[in-house]
């Protein structure tokens, strides 16, 4: 499942939990959030390991313009 889909499922689970704080919804919210966060972390880690990706160049990056 790609990151965009996992994010969508996380947001849906979060919205459901916000409306109804049942134990079942709490469980779904926590699991969806964890799946999404793990996938996002893995993607970021891959980008950090890629020497051609801007993420490896530091916390703040300025592109498509000048950094005076």
């Amino acid at each position: 499942m790609n990151l965009e889909t996992l994010e969508k499922k996380f947001r849906e689970a979060k919205d459901e939990y916000a409306k109804d704080k049942s134990d079942a919804n709490h469980d779904k919210y926590r699991k969806a959030k964890l799946r999404f966060t793990d996938a996002r972390r893995e993607q970021k880690q891959a980008e950090e390991n890629d020497e051609n990706h801007p993420r490896g160049k530091g916390l703040v990056v300025v592109t498509n313009g000048e950094d005076n």
Binding site: F10, L34, R41, Q45, P54, V60, N64, G65, D67
Partner: protein
């Protein structure tokens, strides 16, 4: 005066954890990040909120970066790795931005009054985009992590 370190704000965490029960939702989509120059000196033991000293002066603003800053989105507080609480979010990206001398980012709870300071981020250098895309890319390990099972 200068920014030297990043950190979390002790007053905020005390208020979250004690009788004050400050209602900070780290998964909220309402937190913002404001930029400041290297003129300020954050004090993580006493600073409390955006728009309260020292965060009531020396704020960086410009084209496509207004006072108050921008939203920090897709925020999550999760256990990652085991025994560690990780606060993460989508990278902050603003296109066609022009401003001068951004050294520090203050992440704060914009939905609260006062706007509780959550995390201070030292950029390590001044950034001055000129019609450029300004991106804050959070590390894979998150914006911050609390290892509560050392």
């Amino acid at each position: 005066m200068a920014v030297t370190v990043s950190g979390l704000y002790v007053p905020t965490w005390l208020d979250i954890l004690d009788l004050t029960q400050l209602a900070v939702d780290f998964d909220a989509e309402t937190h913002k990040i404001a930029l400041f120059s290297n003129t300020i000196t954050p004090n993580y033991s006493t600073d409390t909120a955006y728009a309260v000293a020292p965060y009531n002066a020396n704020e960086i603003t410009g084209t496509n970066w207004a006072a108050g800053g921008v939203l920090v989105t897709t925020t999550t507080m999760t256990e990652s790795p085991a025994g560690t609480l990780m606060f993460d979010a989508a990278d902050v990206t603003v296109a066609n931005a022009t401003f001068t001398g951004a050294r520090f980012g203050l992440i704060y709870a914009n939905s609260l009054a006062p706007k509780a300071a959550l995390c201070g981020v030292n950029f390590g250098a001044d950034y001055s985009p000129n019609a450029g895309t300004f991106t804050i890319q959070w590390a894979a390990a998150g914006i911050f992590a609390l290892d509560i099972t050392p």
